[in-house]
Symmetry: C2
Subunit: 219 residues, 2 copies
């Protein structure tokens, strides 16, 4: 059976990504990375539940507190405020964590080399293009080139199955595959109930509304 590492943050995008990797016949190894983000405990619990739902062969929780120490993001710096939703802005949001996805993927590749995985799945997608530079297709193309040049084990590839879907299409895909949305968390600010006001909450609500489904998290 082919092996895949799935980066599972606990959010809905990575939950649907895990669903896609399972539907493609991979045995999955779940990697959850904590980097000092505000809602880390909640996200870890969600990631574990998603891993359990998909019978992951292994679950690895890696803490990289240095990203909090380095700072530069409202997601990791308590002195910076997480802003309200501004979906039309062209600027890189203050919730951007510098080069985060390169850090996450590098960990995944190290693990992939040791277990002999064929693929690494990550839930990056096009609605984040404008905002986060490390979510663009060019970034993943460059990362795959980096893997080709820098690994001992050959053939490892980063897969981004949601790349050209918008958030509504991600909800539809997840529903079609039976992804456990009720086990995922999106809010940037709170861990008990979604704040409903941050960028991430507003995007999730809007996606479920446009797709014509009710978010099971809210029941």
């Amino acid at each position: 059976m082919k092996k895949a590492i799935c980066l599972v943050s606990g959010g809905m995008d990575s939950g649907v990504t895990a669903a896609v990797s399972k539907s493609l016949g991979y045995g999955i190894y779940v990697l959850h990375v904590s980097y000092g983000q505000r809602t880390e405990q909640k996200e870890l619990r969600c990631a574990k539940r998603v891993a359990g739902f998909y019978n992951a062969r292994d679950f690895k929780h890696v803490g990289i507190d240095y990203l909090r120490d380095i700072g530069g993001s409202a997601l990791t710096d308590e002195d910076m405020e997480v802003p309200g939703a501004d979906l039309d802005s062209d600027e890189i949001p203050v919730t951007y964590v510098p080069f985060r996805n390169a850090n996450l993927l590098s960990i995944a590749v190290s693990w992939a080399e040791v277990i002999g995985a064929d693929a690494i799945f990550i839930g990056a997608h096009c609605e984040d293009f404008a905002g986060y530079p490390d979510c663009r297709p060019e970034f993943y193309d460059a990362f795959n080139r980096l893997i080709e040049t820098g690994t001992k084990e050959k053939g490892i590839k980063v897969e981004t199955p949601l790349m050209f879907m918008n958030k509504t299409e991600i909800v539809e895909k997840g529903i079609a595959l039976g992804a456990p949305f009720e086990l995922t968390w999106s809010c940037y600010k709170r861990e008990d109930v979604p704040c409903g006001e941050c960028d991430s909450c507003v995007r999730r609500a809007s996606a479920f509304k446009d797709a014509g489904y009710e978010d099971p998290l809210l029941f």
Copy 2:
């Protein structure tokens, strides 16, 4: 003044790399990463002393124990033996730490974005080509492309000033620039006196001999 992050392991290559970056007029920020390698405490002390020697503006020590947990290398796995020197082998040595340099550079880029650094210096060089895939020029070209695509701050570049030098030329360069070889450590196995038998000890001794200098570490 231009700013550079210097990856300083505590070894002689990164000591000479720090010397090069200073000679080019950079203010330097030293990044030392521990990843569960055997001689970590010694290397940390050496890195701090090299940073002090070059009046580093900041010293950041980041621990990424997950590389030890992931394993797959004789440098981090106590159950795997560090072999004796075999300088003619074409195989990737068991001391290869899977995708290590991508992990290290990703941390450096995150920090570079926050402090506004122009460059990241790393002491990779051609004698490691055959052995370590993440020491090849193609790997660094690919990494610079990754930075171009994946960062908010533009213009950060990884510099590898030792890339096309052999170990003897690195010693000569360091001597010319007054690099503090006496503050550096190369042995993979011991922290008190160099074992003199591991790959790294043998290469260092041979380089000093060929360059016609005595290694100040041994006095």
